[in-house]
Amino acid sequence: MKSEFLLQIKDLKASIDNKSIIKGLSLEVKPGEIHAIMGPNGSGKSTLANVLTGRDLVTVTDGSVTFEGRNLLDMSPEERAREGIFLSFQYPIEIPGVSMVNFMKTAINEQRKHRGLEPLSASEFLSQMREKKELVEIDSALTNRSVNEGFSGGEKKKNEIFQMAMLEPRLALLDETDSGLDIDALRIVANGVNKIRSADTSVIVITHYQRLLDYIIPDFVHVMFDGRIVKSAGPELALELEKRGYDWIRKEADIAEESWITDRKL
């Protein structure tokens, strides 16, 4: 039975080292939709991305997550990736000694194997590299180096989008991909996202700033506070947040002043 949702999160609770971080979160994403998640530092946005990608430092204590109707939480991180979940990391990792070419070839062929396809030939792979490099306007000098090694902050973010373009995910999670980007890079990254987006591909954009959402127009904007989504609306919500900050939402959502203040101090 195929679900109408690509991703369905129900009452999710998750903790790190027995400290509860996600405290009852629900979210439904249909194929082709773009959702933005905003919210103050430490509210649990990256933790949510970690739960979805299967990072084992986060323990799911309650709730369910399905991807195309299947239980996502049962799958290993690599299986989720091969099924089409892609995370653009808030802090991309350097892997010295592993060339981008080798890394991407392994990743793509693992995904193809998972889908019962033959590995790409060297020439097919290289032409795909070329095409996607143009798409995200990434310099060949970068893709000839080791994975993220010595890349600048902005180059790392561009490299994440390049990988996304190569892997053509069904669900892309962009965790603050806009931070650290100059104006041109921001436009390029946004263009990259818009080009891969299709009727099938859904995107969850985690961001602090409206400016990315000028380029990638979301269908929904959600505000996360202390492990919960406390408000969801259309793209106009992001503009309002930009103007008014989070304070009014906090009040509206009736979050206990005390716990909020203590959390902030931590």
Partner: protein, 482 residues
Amino acid sequence: MENDQDKVLNEVTTGEYKYGFVTDIETDVIPKGLSEDVVRLISAKKEEPEWMLEFRLKAFRHWLTMKMPAWANLKIPEINYQDIIFYAAPRQKPAPGSLSEVDPQLIKTFDKLGIPLEEQKRLTGVAVDAVMDSISVKTTFRETLAELGIIFCSFSEAVREHPSLVQKYLASVVPYTDNFFATLNSAVFSDGSFCYIPKGVRCPMELSTYFRINTSNTGQFERTLLIADEESYVSYLEGCTAPMRDENQLHAAVVEIVAERGAEVKYSTVQNWYPGDRDGKGGILNFVTKRGMCKGDDSKISWTQVETGSAITWKYPSCILRGNNSTGEFYSVAVTNNYQQADTGTKMIHIGKNTKSTIVSKGISAGFGQNSYRGLVKVLGKAEGARNFSQCDSLLLGDKCGAHTFPYIEVDNPSAIVEHEATTSRIGEDQIFYCNQRGISTEDAIGLIVNGYAREVINKLPMEFAVEAQKLLQISLEGSVG
């Protein structure tokens, strides 16, 4: 994070050792123990001339005065020399002339190890000397090589057929008094390979010796002597495996290389002796003396080693750079997983003028493995213009293993330039996760990272073996996620 590291570490599983089988073959075994009589018996079994026996006896008597070296960063279990069998040989006619005379069981064994002895099934461009326990089973391609005047045969045969060459060069690089294990080897060495490349000849194929320990409680003491005459070239490869057994087995080999004027020797090792089980039980104790002499001007000796096996590795392939403008190289990857220990490195002794040496050492530790690099760069007073570059890197998987470096630098000539660089890095859980998130399994991620790290060394191996070595690296680290 802590928890996570632990959990990941606890996932350390056996990277199954693929070569742990035993061949059931009739074997000629002498009684356990070591004495002058045993030395005589070995020599008699091999029908050796008097001078060879004399050499053995000199060495044996000297060995009795020696103590096992204690300076290595190794915990070595007590070795009872009276409990070891010093000679075991698959029963067959000595030095079989054709393959049909070789026991089919032996052919099957080497086939299973991926070393076909039938020449039509050969690896392209590789001649093999296959040694099981104490004797050489078969040397392939001898006739082809003989046409060029190249001698490639078992050591025993060289003693019979080419005594003047053996007498001229034996112990000329590693004297019988050299060290505890080399002296022991000089007394009891069983077989090994002998190779002579005549003046001006480029050996057209890789020469290779494959060592296999089969019989239990036996020590393996092979001896290899490789002579490259003026302006010649040879690339030589050595591989080794042993069955899985609960008790430790001793392996004490000696390799000597002589490079005359303008000669070049590449010596590569893929060492995959049984490493013991994941609790550190059993495994080969590997005490090896390897040394090359760049005797003539403009000669070059290059050691490449990929060391993934053995419970204990004690090994320092070295170069004595006697000729002017001679070059020594040492490229090494050493893996210690589970409870393996390695103390390995090199010695570069600069004697001639404008001598150059390069050292690239890549240690990889996982599980509870302990990996030490120990290297000496010595520049003598007359070695005007000597240069050395050393790079010693350590890679750690997990936090229960250790990496250590012991570089010794002794320079007696002010014009020498000696550079040493060292790095330590760790495969982080975050790197593994990053790969996982791109669809790459943890095993493959480690393979990618480790092979990337070791690439500089692997690239020095002959093509056919580089691929093998890459796979071996990955297998030997299977399950050891950090």
